[in-house]
């Protein structure tokens, strides 16, 4: 029985003394081979929880374990070797080329002088290919469009070669084809024993991509389980505060969610 890639136990977090708790006692886990989706309305605490999962924010209470080890006791580079993070707002004005940014993903594996070996460069190239960003390799990131940039940052996360991927709204800027590509890449990695925690707004995509969904609202866990169990009109209506319809996809049977808007 291998240790879970991520085990979060009853964490609580508030941004500062005056604000309400952003995360109020949430537990969640990601096992090897799993793709877990984190869904919920704005300010539900999804991004905060994602950062806690990566060891970037320290919870006031509860524990975070990566492969059985306390995430905050691990040396920083070891932690970065176990979990790769893609934020919602990566910087747009980088002077580096796409290839150089992808190579940055190898940083946790490099020595004192931070010099990459041929193996690192090969991994970065492969990561660019996986994210369909190979043709962007020589271009400065600052000159790319939002979607192209997103693929480069994805390549960086892939190049990090961590068992756990934590991606915060990775599909926001991507077009349909690349959304599918991303989901396929993540699922493929899951097949080889890795895992992912995806923060998603797009509920249909969440339903199609994830093995399990975690529904948050105002920092608390509302529901957790396979998509069919979580993506139900009553639960979603309560969480999002608006009426939704859920219908099965005619081809795959996966739940498709649509907000009910009467004209």
């Amino acid at each position: 029985m291998t240790a879970p890639l991520l085990a979060i136990e009853s964490v609580r977090y508030r941004h500062d003394a005056q604000s309400p708790e952003a995360v109020a006692g949430v537990s969640l886990r990601v096992d090897p081979g799993e793709v877990v989706g984190l869904i919920g309305p704005n300010a539900a605490g999804k991004s905060t929880l994602a950062r806690i999962a990566c060891g970037l924010l320290r919870p006031a209470a509860g524990s975070v374990q990566l492969r059985g080890d306390d995430a905050f006791a691990l040396p920083r580079r070891e932690r970065a070797r176990r979990v790769a993070f893609l934020s919602q707002d990566e910087p747009a004005d980088l002077p580096f080329t796409a290839r150089e940014v992808a190579l940055m993903g190898r940083a946790p594996h490099l020595g004192l002088w931070a010099l990459e070996a041929p193996g690192d460069r090969a991994l970065a190239e492969a990561a660019l290919a996986e994210a369909d960003a190979l043709d962007l390799a020589g271009r400065p990131v600052a000159q790319l469009s939002g979607g192209e940039r997103q693929r480069v940052f994805l390549a960086r996360a892939f190049a990090q070669d961590a068992a756990l991927l934590v991606l915060d709204e990775p599909t926001g800027a991507l077009d349909l084809a690349h959304q599918v590509l991303l989901v396929r890449a993540v699922r493929r990695r899951a097949q080889s024993g890795r895992g992912a925690l995806l923060v998603l707004h797009d509920l249909a995509l969440a339903g199609a991509a994830c093995d399990r969904l975690v529904l948050l609202r105002a920092g608390r866990l509302l529901a957790e389980g396979p998509p069919l169990e979580v993506l139900r009109p009553e639960l979603l209506g309560e969480a999002y505060g608006t009426e939704v319809d859920v219908v099965p996809d005619p081809a795959t049977g996966q739940p498709l969610v649509a907000p009910r808007i009467r004209r």
Binding site: A80, P91, F96, R99, E100, A107
Partner: protein, 340 residues
């Protein structure tokens, strides 16, 4: 760019080495008078003294200061994520200026005599010791005030530094209005940046400081690259952002402190050499840092040689800081136009 960073750094260094050699050659040839090389190399006085005890130490000093200011400029631009940062921006120039101005003001008084003895004992001039102490005090002040909630905030430290520099300017101007004209001139000249003739011990010490600082910063170069991703992005890739910042800040401050103590405020080098290097070599700090060290050394050696040679025509030496600006600005514009 499919070549590794190590290869690109090596290429940059190989390309710059001849530039440094040429600059050194020019630096040794130009001076307030002509130098018959053969006579000098055969030990004939006074040519031998002029070459070995005057020009060689002067060129070495220019190289050390040029390299130190340039790597400090690179580091501070990375720390602040701001291409307009120069090595003096954190208040170091203000602290050194106050130190130097005060030391000139108290010459002849009991305090001045005591200070002169202390400095002489270490092997420095009183102005130099005062400048080092001044910039040290400024660095500590900026570092302390720039902290919030236990972490160093670069933007906050920058604000403190800029305000402190203004304050220091005012103090120096006030001092100047009280001092005798000769002393005022001494302060003004120091502020404009001049390269003098330093004894060997001082050169070795300064060279060691700059070398160690440059080595530390080059080792941090990979992490400095990652800082471009933001504090969070860098931390997610395993960088200890706070420690990297502190180490880079102090290494850069040490290099600037050594430079300022010896030569006053030589402007322009630390701001422009990093940019010029980046225009040619790209943004990777693992290449930019060593390349800036060599580029800065060559640039200042050349500027100083020109400043000294102008003595023949003008009867006086313009401060090297004026020459770096006069020389560097058009050069930079040229580079900029080539690239865009």
């Amino acid at each position: 760019m499919k070549r590794s960073a190590a290869v690109r750094a090596a290429i940059a260094l190989l390309a710059l080495a001849p530039l440094v050699a040429i600059a050194v050659g020019v630096g040794l040839s130009l001076g307030a008078g002509t130098l018959p090389w053969t006579a000098a190399l055969h030990g004939i006085e006074p040519d031998a003294t002029v070459l070995f005890r005057l020009r060689v130490p002067r060129v070495v000093l220019a190289a050390i200061v040029g390299a130190g200011l340039s790597v400090a400029g690179v580091a501070l631009q990375a720390l602040l994520r701001n291409p307009l940062a120069d090595p003096f921006i954190f208040g170091l120039s203000g602290g050194a200026a106050i130190g130097a101005a005060l030391s000139v003001a108290v010459t002849g008084t009991a305090l001045g005599v005591a200070g002169a003895s202390a400095a002489g004992w270490i092997g420095l001039l009183p102005t130099q010791l005062a400048a080092i102490l001044g910039s040290l005090a400024a660095a500590v002040l900026v570092f302390t005030l720039g902290r919030a909630r236990g972490r160093l905030h670069p933007e906050r430290a920058l604000l403190v530094g800029v305000v402190f520099n203004s304050f220091a300017s005012a103090v120096v101007i006030a001092l100047e209005s009280v001092l005798a004209p000769e002393k005022t001139q001494a302060v003004l000249l120091w502020l404009a940046g001049t390269l003098g003739y330093e004894p060997e011990g001082v050169l070795v010490a300064a060279g060691a400081v700059v070398l160690v600082a440059a080595a530390i910063l080059t080792a941090l170069a990979g992490r400095l690259n990652l800082l471009a991703l933001g504090d969070e992005g860098a931390a997610a890739l395993g960088v200890d952002v706070e420690a990297t910042r502190l180490l880079a800040f102090f290494a850069a401050s040490a290099a600037v402190g050594a430079a300022v103590a010896l030569t006053g405020l030589v402007g322009f080098v630390g701001l422009v050499v990093p940019h010029a290097v980046r225009l040619v070599a790209g943004p990777d700090h693992r290449v930019v840092l060593p390349a800036s060290a060599l580029g800065g050394a060559a640039f200042l050696v050349l500027a100083d040689a020109i400043a000294r040679a102008l003595f023949r025509g003008l009867g006086t030496e313009p401060p090297v800081g004026a020459v770096t600006a006069l020389l560097g600005a058009p050069l930079f514009v040229l580079l900029l136009r080539r690239r865009t």
